[in-house]
Symmetry: C2
Subunit: 242 residues, 2 copies
């Protein structure tokens, strides 16, 4: 009965003695790739019940069963922060989702803007990236990835009690805009496409009462860089890095 | 005489009326890929003389000449911040160098630690990534990329007036460690390999008088994520994002 460093997300309730059926892909990963044997231990989490120590109790080529034994870490939900971003090239979009999950975004929302190249996304594939990032980073929470929506539709429905931080290349004073805020509350960060926002989008954002603007310095950042930088600033000032 | 959005790094002095010879690769990029014609304008920079508007004055398959006309932006050097990182998988190492250049690191130093997988790097290839990032981000500075060196050798020679920030997964209080610092001064950030530091390395770092430790939150970040997050915190508190 060896331990392992494997961490696996399972879409199944977890509790003491709880059997957890494996999908075909999970069985392939655990038994084909990671070579786990009967009785081997691993860590599992489902995004709401914390992390559990589980052991392999049934092993097959197309499935199998784990049994949850004891909770090894409590559920740790991230702060109430949404990340909105305009999808870019495939590899960098994958990176953005991975980084957002690692950095503790609670919800990932792809947005279509006037200058967004992508007209559609593979939501299931992006969700799989978020799961993999949670497995890798030791987290117990998996941010849901929404379907792509137009920015106008998102702003039309915007909840008035949620602040939206809009990262504007033309501004200075990133830290101060956030440092003035005393409470955690509900937040969202919007990262634009590589071509920036259109004048109409910029006007709408700047005139919306729930929008704050911050700057990310004197160099123009790629979208994937800006995502990590903005989340780092927010987490350190208002989030769970404090 | 059309303008273009092309930005090109050239390893050549820049001044009014200065002819700038092109390498074969540069000629291929400008004339083969970007399709610039005689008289077309672009932006050039050499890392020390700011950004210049230049025009194409000679075009060939294996070379050509630009002529610098007028300075279009002043030289903007980043703060005196070094980035030390342990190389990881190729694609992520490339990303780290790209991100460090975008985020305004002044010098990029690959370090070999006990748990570093890479035993060598392609310094010239990494330097090319730093140049491409500077071209892309609108910067006028290109951080030099050093050869890979062992961490012990680097620490043996460490300049005592330069603070080294060591990002430790076990710590809390990222912001406060930096926020206490009043002056800009000379700094460096060290990001470890995915496997962390060895106990001996950790002991040495923790007992070095020039070392500060910071935390990057409760989730374990990949090395490339940690690079951007640490640079963002430093830039917003002590660097040129203030």
């Amino acid at each position: 009965m060896a331990g392992s460093n494997v961490r696996l997300y399972v879409d199944h309730p977890l509790g003491q003695g709880q059997p957890v059926p494996l999908t075909r892909d999970q069985a392939h990963y655990l038994f084909g790739v990671m070579r786990l044997q009967d009785g081997d231990a691993l860590a599992v989490f489902n995004g709401r019940d914390g992390e559990w120590r589980a052991t392999v109790t049934e092993r097959g080529k197309r499935g199998g069963t784990l049994t949850a034994e004891a909770q090894s870490a409590p559920q740790l939900d991230p702060p109430d922060l949404w990340l909105l971003f305009a999808p870019i090239k495939k590899a960098r979009t994958d990176f953005i989702v991975e980084k957002a999950a690692e950095m503790g975004a609670a919800r990932i929302m792809p947005v279509q803007t006037e200058y967004t190249n992508a007209e559609r996304i593979r939501r299931d594939r992006l969700q799989a990236h978020a799961i993999e990032a949670a497995e890798q980073c030791g987290g117990t929470y998996v941010p849901p990835v929404d379907e792509l929506r137009k920015i106008d539709a998102i702003l039309d429905d915007w909840p008035p009690d949620r602040r939206l931080i809009f990262c504007d290349e033309a501004l200075a004073g990133a830290r101060h805009a956030l440092a003035d805020q005393q409470e955690n509350g509900k937040w969202a960060i919007l990262i634009g496409p590589e071509g920036g926002f259109s004048p109409a989008e910029r006007d709408r954002l700047c005139s919306s009462p729930f929008v704050s603007q911050i700057s990310l310095g004197p160099r123009i950042l790629r979208a994937d860089t800006a995502v990590v930088a903005a989340l780092a600033l927010w987490q350190s000032l208002l989030g769970d890095w404090k």
